[in-house]
């Protein structure tokens, strides 16, 4: 009826829609009459024609990548509309799974850091760019080992296996961070809660970090160069006795030492001031149909430890091509990186503490050990000899290629886009190790004889193919209701293989690991050869719906049905889902000084894939050799127990958040609270051998609960045309509980180590107790006879031999209570300055160097730390206890940078020239006496052994960088 009435007043309107900045016509723009579902789209020339009921209506023009615009018709029949690109309007787009969304519409927990807020200076790993800037994300890089990747923990621990967040680079799921140069990154989005990560199913359990690289833009060709030179020195090391102090302590205690007459500072002998250079050159530009960006990177990085460092060369190419009247967008991303690493041998750090300071580096009579002085004693090695009689190098190449085709059906169904995505990641690595026959450490040399030497070559390669199809439909379903629907299919297939060959007994060291034919072990049937191959697939169908009512109320839902080859026969498939809701209060209320208050709540379910292939099956493998009929034949036996019910670890998380902007958006911030429970945690458990075949099984046991509060605040202290000063805080708390385990029997992990403390554990995990508990005897005093006394469970003091489990207790916790970040950025005319301070509060560390090396009685065998001077009353062997557990709370000036933009004349060939001087790790305030107070999330790869600093820890470094940026 209404139609019949209104039809009489129908009018036709014509017009053209163009890009406001380039004046180019825009095809495929969606035009709706506001309040109706009447609409049309522009043709190839950007022209449209539309019938309206009244010339007093309003048109709504929307186009992906552009700000939606409302235009009142005001009685005209010809209307030309200019659309502004979204970026110009400052509308923040956030990367979500398989797409982007406006920040406004997000109901889950996603933190975004753009390149201007990245850490400056010599950054080698992309995650260092956002260290401390995302509440809830701890990036831990203990020590200055240039070849070690940081440990990432997003909202604590959610698995007994992998706790590293999933990395997604330009849509490539599970991409390697080693293949992205930090200079090529445009923004990093961190999906923190299960609601945001659920669309990634069994791989989203530890959160997702989405990295978007820089792209070219149509227009003039831009050439940018960034060069960086850095110097790094030792920030902190363990203080040990000098040769003179060593001799003096011998005199005062009467303990005999082996005085070899020299004064050697072993730290000086093994470390260097390291020099690093980084160069990045990029060229970008394009036409209206094709844009591109090419970049090349080179870095040459020396390590603090002599004979270590790496060289890295990388290239990246992004091409976007628009075809078929812009209906089709083709994207090509190619990246390749080559790394050559001198890994060195960490043990040199440990030996530098203990090696006799009166021993000369080299001396007469040590021909068999390459001239290096070597002492008797179990596991004592000359630190310089360790480095100089060995080689430990690793080379690897990453090549990724991704193609994407988006097709916009604006002529058939406005708002509908179909996409196909394919990527291939390949990885090739070789790891080669060589110990000369003169090496005591790895070659078996002794002062009386040459050793056998050892050479080893390991090659690994892997490849991953990913194929995604998605269909995205967005429409203004009702006047106030925007709907966006996404459906898709994803297929990921990976293959891994490798070979290791090694052995010893050469006649000559000359060929190192290059010619394994020199290894005589092989001729005797000795030596080691092994190889492996694994493959797995993940298949999923997924969907998402976003509802937006009046830009005020938001509702999201996702679902993913996913299967993995790694799970047991009975549990191949799982369903992961999430939902979230948000409301922008300022669209309902009116308060003068408040610009935005958005409340949001979300809930989601994610998973964690099984840690490796084949673990749900009974497998038979070689179990040694068997003597039969006068000969040895290989025997086979089970290497696993079957578990057809093995399933994914499942994380359920809810997140409550508020985003706000006050005082003309001077103060902006986010406060969030989350609680997540991960159950069906997969752990390799000891099982009884009858009836099982193999003493351990992969079982779903246990539940971990993590909760915390996260706050991010930013305040514009000064806003003027001459200058700005912005200051920001991030704050996050951690609380991690092992809620359930296979029984309430405690388990003890992380042996103190050799010598002598191989069966002494430092970590306890138990049902209903927090994770991260450091466990051990409670130190009371050193008694008058020079032996240890500990507190007994019944109150009295007991000796070391009397300590039982009942007497031990929780003596620390390796997980911090909270982490705090404080950033400042100031710009005044051509100058800018940024500063970043990070504090981590409330975690403890076992200082292993003290456990073993601060005992004055040991100077008869080896050197000790200077803390031994305060312990001269000790006459007993080293024994781990609460005495060695230290509070590792720290505050660190992590980054300070000062930049100057050289003013350039208008028509200059150089459009921008900037110099920056920056420092990293400038100082650290801490009571911790070890090498680095950073949180230790893993111990030898075990994610449950938290809070242990081992003896071969690298020193931390302090670096100064000079950077130049030039844009042409």
């Amino acid at each position: 009826m209404l139609c019949a009435v209104s039809a009489m007043a129908q009018q036709t309107i014509r017009g053209t829609i163009t890009d406001a900045s380039t004046s180019e016509t825009l095809p495929g723009v969606n035009i709706l009459v506001k309040g109706t579902s009447t609409g049309a789209s522009t043709d190839a020339n950007g022209a449209f024609e539309l019938t309206v009921e009244s010339l007093q209506d309003t048109l709504v023009a929307s186009y992906i990548g552009y700000q939606t615009q409302e235009v009142p018709i005001n009685g005209q029949t010809g209307i030309d509309i200019e659309l502004n690109p979204e970026s110009i309007m400052g509308e923040e787009m956030v990367v979500v799974g398989y797409g982007t969304q406006e920040r406004e519409q997000i109901t889950s927990s996603i933190s975004s850091v753009a390149s201007e807020d990245f850490t400056s200076g010599a950054v080698n790993n992309p995650t260092e760019l956002i260290q401390g800037k995302v509440p809830g994300l701890i990036v831990s890089t203990p020590g200055a080992n240039p070849n070690e990747s940081p440990t990432l923990r997003l909202r604590g621990i959610s698995s007994f296996g992998n706790n590293e967040p999933l990395i997604v680079v330009d849509g490539i799921i599970g991409a390697s961070m080693d293949n992205i140069d930090p200079n090529d990154i445009k923004s990093i989005d961190v999906m923190k809660d299960a609601s945001a990560a659920a669309i990634y199913g069994t791989r989203g359990g530890a959160g997702v970090i989405a990295i978007t690289t820089k792209k070219g833009q149509a227009g003039q060709t831009k050439v940018s160069y960034k060069g960086d030179i850095s110097l790094m020195g030792v920030e902190n090391k363990i203080d040990v006795l000098s040769a003179d102090q060593f001799r003096q302590l011998s005199k005062t205690t009467g303990i005999e030492i082996e005085d070899l007459g020299a004064n050697t500072d072993w730290f000086d002998e093994i470390t260097q001031t390291s020099y690093t250079q980084i160069h990045n050159l990029s060229i970008s530009g394009g036409t209206e149909s094709t844009t591109y960006r090419f970049s090349g990177n080179f870095r040459d990085n020396q390590g603090l430890l002599k004979h270590t460092g790496f060289q890295q060369k990388g290239g990246r190419m992004n091409i976007n091509h628009y075809a078929l009247d812009d209906k089709l967008v083709l994207t090509l991303n190619l990246s390749a990186t080559s790394h050559n690493q001198d890994v060195g041998i960490d043990n040199a750090f440990r030996q530098a503490v203990t090696f006799n300071p009166t021993a000369p580096v080299k001396s007469e009579g040590f021909k068999n050990t390459g001239g290096y002085t070597e002492l008797s004693g179990y596991q004592f090695f000359n630190p310089v000899a360790i480095l100089e009689t060995s080689k430990n190098v690793r080379e690897f190449r990453d090549i990724n290629a991704a193609v994407k085709a988006d097709y916009n059906f604006y002529d058939l169904v406005p708002g509908l886009t179909a996409s196909g995505f394919y990527s291939l990641q390949t990885f090739d690595a070789s790891h080669n190790v060589f110990y000369a026959r003169t090496s005591k450490f790895g070659g078996g040399a002794s002062p009386s004889s040459l050793g056998r030497g050892h050479a080893e070559r390991q090659t690994d390669k892997s490849s991953t193919e990913q194929f995604d199809m998605t269909l995205n439909y967005s429409t203004q379903a009702l006047e106030n209701l925007g709907v966006e629907v996404l459906t898709g299919y994803s297929y990921v297939s990976s293959e891994y293989e490798g070979t290791t060959v090694g052995g010893g007994d050469f006649v000559s060291d000359e060929t190192g690991f290059n010619n394994l034919e020199f290894i005589q072990d092989f001729n005797k049937g000795l030596g080691d050869i092994s190889s492996y191959k694994n493959d797995d697939r993940i298949i999923a169908g997924f969907g998402r719906i976003n509802l937006d009512w009046n830009n005020t109320y938001y509702l999201n839902g996702t679902i993913r049905r996913e299967g993995s080859t790694r799970f047991g026969e009975n549990n191949k498939w799982g369903t992961f889902w999430s939902t979230g809701a948000g409301v922008e209060l300022m669209n309902i209320l009116e308060v003068d000084f408040i610009n935005q208050i958005k409340l949001r709540a979300s809930y989601g379910v994610t998973g964690q894939n099984a840690p490796s292939d084949g673990i749900s099956k009974l497998r038979l493998g070689p179990t040694g050799y068997f003597f039969s009929g006068g000969d040895f034949i290989q025997s086979f036996g089970p290497v696993s127990n079957p578990n057809p019910n093995l399933k994914w670890e499942e994380t359920k998380e809810y997140n409550l958040g508020v985003d706000f902007a006050l005082f003309d958006e001077r103060l902006t911030g986010t406060v969030e609270y989350y609680q997540k429970n991960t159950d069906d945690l997969i752990l390799e458990m000891e099982v009884p051998v009858p009836p099982n075949l193999y003493p351990t099984s992969q079982l779903n046991v246990g539940e971990i609960q993590s909760k915390g509060v996260e706050v991010a605040l930013a305040y514009d202290v000064i806003r003027s045309t001459d200058g700005i000063w912005n200051t920001g805080f991030t704050f996050s708390t951690f609380n991690i509980l092992l809620k359930q385990f296979e029984s309430d029997v405690p388990r003890y992990l992380a042996n103190v180590g050799s010598p002598g403390q191989n069966n002494t554990q430092m970590v306890r995990i138990r049902e209903n107790e927090p994770l991260g508990q450091i466990w051990g005897p409670r130190f009371a005093k050193i008694s008058d006879d020079g032996t240890w006394r500990f507190h007994g469970s019944e109150g009295g003091l007991i000796t070391r031999g009397e300590v039982s489990r009942e007497d031990e207790a929780v003596i620390g916790n390796g997980i911090p209570d909270f982490e705090l970040g404080w950033s400042n950025s100031v710009r005044y005319r051509n100058w800018d300055m940024s500063m970043f301070v990070r504090a981590v509060y409330g975690h403890d560390l076992v200082n292993s160097a003290r456990v073993f090396f601060e005992n004055p009685i040991n100077i008869s065998t080896y050197n000790v730390t200077t803390t031994a001077l305060d312990l001269t009353q000790l006459k007993s062997n080293s024994a781990y206890s609460s005495f060695h557990v230290e509070d590792a709370t720290y505050l660190r000036l992590q980054n300070l940078a000062l930049g100057y933009n050289v003013p350039m004349p208008e028509q200059s060939f150089v459009s921008n020239l900037k110099f920056t001087f920056s420092g990293r790790n400038l100082f650290t305030l801490t009571d911790y006496g070890g090498m680095d107070p950073s949180v230790r999330w893993t111990d030898g790869g075990n994610p449950l052994a938290i809070g242990i600093e081992r003896r071969n820890q690298w020193y931390s470094g302090r670096s100064f960088s000079f950077t130049v940026n030039i844009d042409f």
């Binding site: 008797s376 000795l526 099956k617 050799y625 089970p638 009858p690």
Partner: protein
């Protein structure tokens, strides 16, 4: 909704269907590929695979070659061997001290390791019996006749593992089926005495059942269970029957030792030490051995266990030893003391802290030890600059039978080292080529002698048999026998052959209930419940049906 909207939705649905179709025809296959290992469906196709699979039943025996597991249980708890804590070395949370003092708890790793070794042997034999039976049913290549001897061998081996369980733990679940559910595995009785009796009956009947089904060819079955190994295991079972069941079975010991003697397959080697050489495979005295090899069957790690940190040049070892296991001083004395061991007198290393040369009995079996100055291959004494300043020998290394203390600062060079198995010059890794002995013929003679003596304290054949062993060692024969002499002779002969604990428990004690419970150096009298080990804590946690042995 107006037409435009419906049209839009129509289009969306059509394209969605298209996508859905692609999704359905796309790969959704999640079959897992196993590339590195074999799954049971693909195995047991050939005879070679059968024999190869059989090896897995024997592989748990390789743990005999380490200092943990069986060595820790049978030797470190006894009066033969000790591992002192040497300053920062060998503290290991006090386990070696607790084993020595017999203060061990259900949580000791080494006790759990031993349990796991025995039971993985049992589980493997059960699995193979099950798989072999299936292979006959499902494969045309393998016949019942071909498979029967293998199954008999596996049952014999399983009974051998159960004999070890019986001896060490007393009361443990009897599992004879691969498919048994965990809830069905429980001890034969909650009571140790009753459970041990039932376990004894099981071992006995299994061994008797398979006796005549097994191979009798000694040379073809080196390192495997043949008829003679079963006779030997039966003899051992009966020898200790009184300990296990309160009922002695001495006559049965004589029967089964006679079966071995009468077969004439075995004889004493002329020279004691020849049993333990690098190339000792196939010695006529060996009955059951673990044929270790540096390449193939690795794990015999005696050199690193016992040799000094700086001893590499003494043998040109390709590895640095750990300086662990040592001989108890009093035990060493039982060789050189003319009272205990009459024989030719000559120069031997004495018991003082310096390890001076004194006069004592020169028993051939002193080859079991490395004592005195440690020399490199050129004959120069090796030095340890890190030697304790309280050690009168100082840096030049002299292994003295004297040991200064159990803990915490045992001297690095104190204690006679175990050199029973010939140390190979130039051994590249800590994996000896010598075969390790589980049973040998000398024990057949000694067991028969003991059984005859137990039946009749003045049996002349008993004395003659013991003296044959003494004669070979070139010491004087005994005129009479008594418990002390028999036990001491077994000690001298079978040092480090993993039977000392069992022998001590079989003899009546002086301060304790058994000799095992008696007090000795750095150890008080222990309670009789120590004569079986506790059920390991890990096993109790994993299987709630298990009952702990009394006393623990």
């Amino acid at each position: 909704m107006d037409r435009q909207m419906i049209k839009n939705l129509n289009g969306f649905l059509k394209i969605s269907l298209l996508v859905l179709f692609t999704f359905v025809v796309s790969c959704t296959d999640l079959t897992e590929n196993i590339n590195n290992e074999i799954t049971p469906e693909n195995f047991f196709q050939t005879d070679e695979e059968i024999i190869s699979a059989l090896g897995d039943a024997y592989s748990p025996l390789t743990s005999y070659g380490s200092h943990g597991g069986q060595t820790a249980l049978a030797e470190v708890t006894s009066d033969e061997i000790v591992i002192t804590q040497k300053g920062a070395d060998w503290g290991d949370g006090g386990i070696w001290i607790r084993l020595h003092r017999q203060k061990f708890t259900p949580s000791e790793d080494e006790i759990n390791n031993a349990w796991n070794n025995f039971f993985s042997g049992i589980a493997n034999t059960n699995r193979l019996i099950f798989q072999f039976k299936n292979a006959v049913e499902s494969s045309a290549n393998i016949s019942q006749e071909e498979i029967d001897p293998f199954i008999a061998e596996l049952r014999g081996l399983r009974a051998f593992y159960y004999y070890l369980v019986l001896d060490n733990f007393g009361n443990a679940p009897i599992v004879t089926s691969f498919e048994q559910d965990i809830t069905e595995t429980e001890q034969p009785s909650p009571d140790l005495k009753e459970g041990r009796q039932k376990l004894f009956n099981f071992v006995e009947s299994e061994l008797l059942d398979v006796l005549d089904l097994l191979n009798t060819d000694v040379d073809a079955t080196i390192g495997r269970v043949n008829k003679w190994v079963v006779h030997m295991t039966l003899a051992k079972l009966y020898l200790n029957a009184e300990v296990y069941t309160k009922t002695s079975r001495w006559g049965d010991v004589v029967t089964h030792t006679n079966a071995i003697i009468d077969s004439q397959n075995y004889e004493l080697m002329d020279n004691y030490a020849d049993n333990f050489t690098v190339n000792n495979t196939g010695s006529p005295e060996h009955i059951f051995t673990i044929p270790f090899d540096e390449v193939f069957r690795t794990g015999f790690g005696l050199p690193a266990q016992t040799m000094h940190l700086s001893s590499q040049p003494a043998f040109n070892f390709g590895f640095q030893p750990n300086n662990g296991v040592q001989t108890m001083t009093d035990f060493y004395e039982s060789y050189i003391d003319p009272e205990q061991n009459p024989g030719p007198q000559g120069e031997v290393i004495g018991l003082d802290p310096q390890g001076s040369t004194i006069s004592g009995t020169v028993d051939d079996r002193l080859d079991n030890f490395l004592v005195g100055p440690l020399l490199d291959l050129e004959g120069n004494q090796i030095s340890d600059p890190g030697a304790s300043s309280s050690d009168p020998n100082g840096p030049p290394i002299t292994h003295t039978p004297y040991i200064n203390e159990l803990e915490p600062d045992g001297w690095r060079q104190a204690g006679a080292r175990i050199a029973k198995y010939e140390m190979e010059i130039g051994l590249s890794s800590n994996n000896m080529n010598n075969d390790m002995i589980i049973f040998r013929y000398a024990d057949v003679l000694m067991m028969k002698a003991e059984a005859l003596w137990r039946l009749n304290g003045s049996d002349p054949e008993a004395l003659e048999l013991v003296n044959r062993i003494r004669e070979r060692a070139n010491v004087e024969p005994f005129n009479t026998l008594d418990a002390d002499k028999i036990l001491a002779e077994r000690g001298r002969e079978f040092f480090y052959e993993m039977m000392r604990r069992q022998d001590l428990i079989r003899f009546e004690g002086k301060t304790g209930k058994t000799r095992f419970n008696d007090a000795w150096w750095e150890k008080g009298t222990s309670e009789p419940f120590r004569n079986v080990f506790p059920i390991p804590q890990n096993q109790l946690e994993a299987n709630p049906n298990l009952k702990q042995n009394p006393g623990y």
